[in-house]
């Protein structure tokens, strides 16, 4: 139950040209900003939007093949989809929502309801079967939507921002549950999200999409460690600086130099994690090799730390503890010194 797709579609200003490959039982997260073409990709895979070119294949069976004139309409694809706002049918009970897909695929009413009840039990909502969707909490509705999508035994599961409608606390528990259900699902899953944490937590592979194109693909940890664009870097909290490797230092394209631990040559990307940046009110004594004058331009509290945006020859992000932030009397506009150990700087080829 694997997915292989390579599609081109034009939606207004966005040209989407994406290739995805998802083996059976694995989860692909498509990560990108709004308007990048993520949802368009999902609609094409679902059969709701015919592509302008390319193919979609599931288990070797063509669902779309533009050159051969093949387009399987959505209702004939073995898929399940969870929409951003779930789209549970408001006029049906929770049980009948989950039974809907079983009924359309030929089950009798009694049989469909039995199957639906089983799925509701699996998402631990058996006692809410008789409710209407309007009477559910966000987390409950999300679980019903997942049960409804999975009940039809799909080959392909599509999740469109499945957690974005939830508050932060609910998201944590629902995400863990979703992870469990995805682990048990034997088909291919495509998850669209703009939240890197969802991607990191749920996916086996991440595809970063910008402007309808893949800008980076790989295992989540790899993408976090080595972001290829500023967007990905910001997403995973890294300052990403392009430059040219010259031995154990990199000359940055924007001016300035960064000392690195390993040998580097040619065009490279330098990544600095915010927690490895230290801030000083005065130029520190016995200066490490990477010491830069910076100006504090912004500060956002992030749990126990404050993420500081720094401008200067070398633009950086720095995480300092809230206590240190107060002790140093930091305020936007202040001139500071930033240091980073060469060993904390990651360099990879562009």
């Amino acid at each position: 139950m694997s997915l292989a797709a390579d599609v081109r579609v034009r939606r207004g200003a966005v040209h989407v040209e994406l290739a995805v490959d998802v083996p059976a039982g694995s989860v692909l997260a498509v990560l990108g900003p709004n308007g990048a073409g993520k949802s368009t990709l999902l609609r094409v895979l679902a059969g709701l939007l015919p592509p302008d070119g390319g193919r979609v294949e599931v288990d070797g069976e063509p669902w779309d093949d533009v050159s051969a004139g093949v387009h399987l309409p959505a209702h004939r694809r073995r898929l399940g989809m969870v929409f951003q706002d779930y789209l549970l049918f408001p006029h049906l009970t929770v049980l009948d929502n989950v039974a809907f897909g079983l009924r359309t695929r030929g089950a009798g009413r009694r049989e469909a309801r039995a199957g639906a009840a089983e799925w509701l039990a699996r998402v631990e909502l058996g006692d809410l079967a008789a409710r209407r969707p309007g009477q559910l909490s966000g987390g409950q509705a999300q679980r019903v939507a997942l049960a409804r999508a999975l009940a039809g035994d799909p080959a392909l599961l599509l999740l469109d921002e499945p957690l974005s409608a939830l508050d932060a606390r609910t998201r944590l528990t629902v995400r863990a549950e979703l992870r469990r259900h995805l682990g048990a699902f034997g088909g291919a899953t495509v998850l669209v999200t703009h939240d890197p944490v969802d991607a990191m937590a749920l996916a086996d592979r991440v595809l970063v999409v910008e402007d309808g194109r893949v800008v980076q693909a790989g295992p989540p940890a790899e993408v976090a460690r080595r972001p290829r664009t500023d967007y990905v870097a910001r997403l995973v909290g890294l300052a990403l600086l392009p430059g040219t490797g010259e031995g154990t230092s990199v000359r940055l394209d924007g001016g300035g130099r960064v000392a690195v631990a390993e040998q580097a040559a040619g065009p490279v990307l330098v990544a600095v994690r915010p927690e490895s940046v230290a801030l000083w009110p005065e130029r520190p004594a016995g200066s490490p090799r990477n010491t830069w004058p910076v100006r504090l331009t912004g500060a956002t509290p992030h749990g126990a730390t404050v993420r500081c945006e720094l401008d200067g020859e070398v633009p950086l992000l720095a995480d300092v503890t809230a206590a240190a932030f107060a002790e140093l009397g930091l305020a936007p506009g202040m001139q500071l010194w930033a240091t980073v150990k060469a060993s904390e700087v990651t360099v990879y080829a562009r």
């Binding site: 789209l87 049918f89 408001p90 006029h91 309007g134 039809g152």
Partner: protein, 269 residues
């Protein structure tokens, strides 16, 4: 929330009061002029019950025909991507702007004995439509169906079409989706459209008297009876108008209680 915040602002309240007065005062006029003492003999006069029954039956049949034909038409207008949809929508509203008497003449030209279709019906099957109860239903449907189509199309446009996408991903073809998702979602809109359609059919006069003629028991509906009574006995006309009004208001209130009252339930996202 305080009372002040809930109160209706004057720029809305004053026109609203004027509107109510405008709509209600003619009714008050009818009530004032009603000959209450002679009410009973007027009500039990032969033909009144017959005209009322015919009115209710034909308006209900016209509404049924409008539902069967009009809801699919509304769907085509709201959801399909066929060419010339704008023109089609304009054509649907033709009976709204056409003077009903002209509508009646137009029906003759198509379904009359000498009409394009009517001539063939007459020659092939010996069926003539004008001056029959069928003609009443056809005339009322012609005039009233656009109200239903426009209401239902509006409801379909307002309904979230993504529910239909969701149904498709659950294996439902378009017909199943229409039956099991779209129809229930727009049910309040359909109900409102049907009520409007029924009310319009019940009051229909011009197209009916032209195309179906006027004969007690077969084609004389209440509005026709009222109009003719007005020629000879204005008091009888007032009584008949009140009967029609009372019956239609009672029906609408009853329906509102039964299914229009639930219209809020469909709005849950």
């Amino acid at each position: 929330m305080s009372r002040a915040e809930r109160s209706v602002p004057a720029p809305l309240l004053i026109p609203a009061v004027v509107a109510v007065a405008f709509l209600v005062l003619p009714l008050v006029g009818l009530l004032v002029r009603t000959p209450w003492s002679g009410l009973w003999p007027q009500l039990t006069a032969p033909g009144v019950g017959e005209a009322l029954r015919l009115s209710l039956v034909s308006a209900t049949l016209a509404t049924a025909v409008s539902l069967v034909l009009g809801v699919p038409l509304a769907w085509v207008l709201a959801r399909s991507r066929i060419r010339g949809r704008g023109l089609l929508r304009a054509l649907v509203t033709v009976p709204l702007v056409l003077p009903p008497v002209v509508g009646g003449v137009a029906l003759f030209l198509v379904l009359g004995r000498q009409g394009i279709v009517g001539r063939w019906l007459d020659e092939a099957f010996g069926i003539t439509i004008p001056f029959t109860t069928t003609a009443v239903v056809i005339a009322e449907t012609f005039v009233a169906m656009p109200f239903l189509v426009i209401s239902v199309e509006g409801a379909l446009r307002a309904a979230d079409a993504r529910f239909e996408d969701a149904a498709a991903t659950l294996g439902a073809d378009r017909w199943t989706t229409f039956r099991r998702v779209t129809l229930p979602l727009v049910a309040p809109g359909i109900a409102a459209g049907a009520v409007l359609c029924w009310a319009r059919a019940l009051g229909e006069f011009g197209a009916t008297i032209t195309f179906a003629g006027n004969f007690p028991g077969t084609t004389q509906t209440m509005p026709l009876a009222v109009y003719l009574a007005l020629q000879r006995d204005p008091e009888a006309a007032i009584v008949l108008s009140l009967v029609l009004l009372a019956v239609s208001l009672a029906t609408l209130l009853l329906l509102r209680g039964r299914w229009l009252g639930r219209s809020g339930a469909g709005a849950v996202p």
